[in-house]
Symmetry: C2
Subunit: 380 residues, 2 copies
């Protein structure tokens, strides 16, 4: 049985989405910039996608910029605002648990003159609003806080953060990396006082190579890529029409049943953890969302259990998703101040709306067999 | 009959390429960064693609950076080297006929301190090596010259330019925008002393949203996008596996028959121009390559004939491909010093290896009917 439980890393493209992409590659393959009807057809797909995202984010068409993915969206949001705002203030506040697409981009800005403060998190992975309040000053030009943490599924209080910033420093911009939240937890940027919001397609059964940045009209940014002036000059380059259309279709399919899927994944998670309760010395980290299960398994290195499970057709990840081959110490778990053994022995099991009871049962059953087996070698 | 002759703008994805992409979206959909076999499978597709491009470009694996397309490749090459080299020299030389992805990126650098010189072209669209020689100084850090011009198909003498630069200013880097040449005219960067070469997938029957930058190992660049550190840290972000694999397959299919396709397109072009010879007051611009036909048709505005042809199912473009909706005066035609009427009355008919005799005959037949018809209104 093949059991893909690494959906926070990437997802299988939805069948209907794949068919749409196929169709656009072969039929409506024009360049949206072209004057003729082949161009108009292509442009129409970009317009429909934009209109869908405007509906769910309750925003204007000018506020959506399509990108090549979450990393580009984060870079565009952070670098693009810094060079506009740095004269007013070069102070950026972020958290200790951001994805590298945010943390490394801010690190780069630190090298070119930005002053950075990192918010701590508690053992649940939550930031402290009082610390943010203390750090916010009239020199703070940007606060960047993720919505859902990619490693442990902690949910940050985006609306409260937004209100605090808008009240205390109305000129300070608020960026949210929503790569792990979009399509699973509804969010309306304007209501949460969010100025910039990054979304990725391949985390929600859409194709790789597509994403978007929501950018409120009040927010001025400089572009990362110069050229033909597509997308109001904010992102030059021929639009990836099949990618964008597939992204929108994938997102719209998730949006059709967010709360049912949430409840179903919650039940899957609860049953799964119940199934594992007899294994000793395991610990669950974070877990505000049902679809990310961070599991520390004492005495077994994460990569060992990842490989053992893969042999059974079960795909999970060690530590963080995206650059996990490096096997660095997880900044999220470190910041959550977990016990030292957990830093090397934590895996992430990540569900999607497509995950079935059968898959979760099979995974639990195999973990129950594998863990004692692997421990026999280290514990004798 | 549908007759797509706007292949310099974008191309229909090859059927086999579309099938491969479909398969990778649904089967080998893993994240190359993942530790498990689903990740390895995905990584394998990136490796094979890289290996193919290394074979044709005769370069090392570390010299290929996959990007989201030609625009990103151009930006990465130009911006990425400028911030490494500007202390040694902030002088950049380019031509008057570059694609906006190059010209606008260099224009941006001019705004942040670069000193720019623009090479003239003659009436065939060719630069003058003597002018380049005059302008090259020890302050020149980058020369950027396109291989094949996107509007008129002029071919620049890349090997001679490379030799001149390497001889006179060996530390100066040479970037080539090869978006309109790759897969049609073989090029080996090291032999031509090219340090950076940009390629796009969607111009050669590959998918939109993919491209690459060849970057010689001797060339140091800073990344445009920060994050997970994929591709040796030069381009963070989950690789677009289906896009990259489809790009490589599309390119490999073209590489299988470059000279046959060239001869065939040459014959198509010759017959086509012969068919049009009885129309008075038309002029062909540039045309070193058979697959780009720039045609000035006196007394008819480009957009009028583009629309009239589109009604007959024939898709061509007005002026430049990529941002042609703007209907700006073509910088290429202006630089070539064409007659004033040509600036408003030039269309581009662009072929690909898939273009058939039947399509070209139909296009010629319709142009012969439409031109006198449209002229009747303006010439009475």
């Amino acid at each position: 049985m093949e059991c893909y439980l690494d959906n926070a890393s990437t997802t299988r493209v939805d069948d209907e989405v794949a068919s749409l992409i196929q169709e656009l590659m072969l039929k409506d393959y024009g360049n949206p910039a072209s004057l003729h009807s082949k161009g108009f057809e292509a442009e129409q797909h970009i317009r429909s996608a934009r209109s869908f995202f405007c509906d769910v984010l309750k925003c204007r068409e000018s506020e959506i910029v399509f990108t090549s993915g979450g990393t580009e969206s984060d870079n565009l949001a952070i670098i693009g605002t810094y060079f506009v705002k740095r004269r007013r203030g070069n102070h950026i506040i972020t958290t200790k648990i951001e994805h590298p697409a945010v943390s490394q981009t801010i690190q780069y800005l630190a090298e070119v003159g930005a002053k950075i403060d990192l918010l701590d998190v508690d053992r649940h992975g939550h930031i402290d609003l009082a610390q943010l309040d203390d750090l916010l000053s009239d020199k703070t030009s940007l606060v960047s806080v993720m919505h859902v943490n990619n490693e442990v599924g902690a949910v940050e209080p985006i609306a409260e953060i937004g209100r605090l910033i808008r009240k205390k420093q109305p000129d300070c911009l608020f960026h949210v990396d929503d790569v792990q939240g979009f399509g699973k937890i509804p969010i309306i940027p304007a209501e949460c006082k969010v100025d910039l919001l990054s979304v990725s397609s391949h985390k929600l059964h859409g194709p790789k190579g597509a994403g978007l940045l929501y950018k409120s009209d009040r927010t001025k940014i400089t572009e990362l890529m110069h050229g033909g002036g597509q997308q109001n000059g904010l992102r030059s380059g021929t639009e990836n029409v099949p990618g964008v259309a597939g992204f929108a279709l994938a997102a719209s399919k998730l949006y059709g049943s967010i709360s049912e899927d949430h409840e179903r994944m919650k039940a899957l998670r609860e049953k799964f953890l119940l199934d594992l309760q007899d294994i000793e010395d395991i610990r669950v980290n974070g877990g505000d969302v049902p679809y990310i299960i961070s599991l520390s398994i004492k005495d077994i290195r994460a990569e060992v259990i990842v490989h053992a499970l893969a042999e059974k057709g079960i795909f999970v990840s060690a530590g963080s998703a995206c650059a996990s081959k490096k096997l660095q110490i997880s900044p999220t778990l470190s910041a959550m101040d977990v016990e030292k053994w957990q830093l090397e022995s934590t895996i992430r099991i990540s569900l999607s709306a497509h995950t079935t009871q059968e898959e979760m049962d099979y995974a639990a059953e195999q973990i129950k067999l594998i863990v004692p087996d692997l421990r026999r070698f280290v514990r004798r």
